[in-house]
């Protein structure tokens, strides 16, 4: 799972909502309001970095980010059809 490479799906838009003061993900079926960690993960789902790579980047920024947390979040995003994974 840590080698899997997540990528934002086609037709999904990530923006910042001034009204809610939060990062949001927009897609045909709905809206996800992201907390800060989730927003950082989504921003790194670029189709190049693996889940393991993302965890390494985040570990610099936040303390206590485990690769398994990133993997769990990514699989929830896959379920909501916000990201795809290769590999």
């Amino acid at each position: 799972m840590l080698e899997a490479v997540p990528r934002i799906r086609r037709g999904v838009k990530c923006t910042y909502d001034q009204i809610r003061e939060a990062h949001v993900v927009l897609f045909p079926e709905g809206v996800l309001v992201l907390n800060e960690t989730a927003a950082s993960v989504v921003a790194l789902c670029d189709g190049v970095r693996s889940i393991g790579d993302i965890a390494v980047v985040l570990a610099d920024e936040y303390s206590g980010v485990e690769p398994s947390d990133v993997a769990a979040l990514v699989s929830r995003l896959v379920e909501r059809r916000v990201v795809d994974v290769d590999g």
Binding site: D17, I19, L26, G30, V31
Partner: protein
């Protein structure tokens, strides 16, 4: 204060080249002369965005009949909204798609009436099938994601496998198979639309198998036939909770069908702001949260899941918009729904054309 809405359903016009007898638009369609102007719609989008809406669904009727559609798309896009075009596909030429994509449409939802040309065009009331097939190709060529939406009823439910195959062929990423919801024209035509139990039982495993087979390629969303269920749908995820609808004349509705509730005092964008209407109007507050509920909903744990079902359906079938949705097996009015099923749910005694076609160009 109520939480902010996520979406705006903008019904730009009720005019439509198609005549679907299952259409959920109200029987009293708004005439062209009464439609909001471009300026009005721009203001509505501004207000919706500052209220918190992030998705704008451009629908109708047929939104392509508004010549100002590209401008409205561009405006919604400039506000940072996700722009979803909900269309029959009739009028969606290659140039049109190109323009709309350039102006910022993010996603296209295309309706398909049936699996075959003959079936599709009989239900649509005009020759629409070939134009839908073309439109789907143009949408894909612009790199836009495509959802196909087919409303299911007695006239097409037997073709469900063909409908799924057609959506695949059209290149859809998503397929919504939505059993007819009985509002507007659909309510009027219910006796020729209600599916039989057998049809639903045959369709269910076909849908399940296709969902498994197409996993990762085409997502299939199946919307239940609520008259046949024991519990209601979670209508709108609660009244005045996530979305608001603006009708072609500027009426602001908590759900697209809410104009049927005659006791509701409907506000209009020409006389109040969306902010005032969303937060303070009697119509939006009428069924918000749980306090308006009567028993059995009031003391039922499922109220957190289904919000007591649909207010419009409660009003239409019981005369009381605050009643439990009568499709619920716990409702004292469930017998009304059972009686409808018993008396109306017969194999079509009359051809599909016996439907009252929804006509307004």
């Amino acid at each position: 204060m109520a939480e902010a809405p996520f979406g705006l359903l903008a019904e730009l016009t009720h005019r439509c080249p198609l005549q679907c007898g299952y259409c959920s638009n109200p029987l009293e369609l708004v005439r062209r002369e009464a439609e909001l102007s471009t300026e009005d719609w721009r203001r509505v989008f501004d207000q919706a965005r500052s209220l918190g809406a992030l998705q704008v669904h451009l629908s109708g009727g047929e939104p392509l009949l508004r010549p100002d559609l590209p401008e409205l798309v561009a405006h919604a896009n400039s506000l940072g909204c996700y722009v979803n075009l909900v269309t029959s596909g009739v009028g969606l030429s290659r140039d049109r798609v190109r323009t709309l994509a350039a102006r910022g449409v993010d996603h296209v939802q295309l309706s398909l009436q049936d699996a075959t040309k003959a079936g599709n065009d009989r239900i649509a009331g005009i020759k629409a099938f070939d134009r839908k097939v073309e439109a789907a190709a143009f949408v894909l060529a612009e790199g836009l994601p495509l959802t196909v939406n087919t409303v299911l009823h007695r006239q097409n439910l037997d073709n469900i496998a063909g409908i799924i195959a057609m959506a695949e062929q059209l290149g859809a990423e998503r397929l919504e198979l939505a059993n007819t919801q009985y509002y507007g024209w659909a309510l009027r035509n219910r006796a020729v639309l209600l599916p039989t139990r057998k049809q639903l039982a045959v369709a269910a495993p076909i849908v399940a198998a296709a969902q498994a087979r197409l996993k990762g390629r085409m997502e299939i969303v199946y919307v239940i036939a609520d008259y046949h269920e024991a519990h209601p749908k979670p209508c709108m995820y609660g009244w005045g909770a996530r979305q608001l609808t603006v009708a072609p004349n500027g009426d602001v509705l908590p759900c697209p069908a809410a104009s049927v509730i005659s006791s509701l005092q409907i506000e209009n964008v020409l006389s109040a702001s969306l902010h005032e209407i969303w937060h303070d109007s009697p119509s939006f507050n009428a069924f918000r949260g749980f306090d308006w509920m009567q028993d059995p909903c009031r003391s039922c744990p499922r109220k957190e899941i289904d919000f007591g079902g649909c207010r419009c359906q409660a009003f239409q079938l019981t005369g009381d918009a605050a009643a439990t949705d009568p499709v619920c097996s716990l409702s004292q009015d469930r017998s009304t729904v059972d009686l409808i099923l018993e008396t109306e749910m017969e194999p079509a005694p009359v051809p599909a054309m016996a439907m009252a076609m929804r006509k307004m160009r």
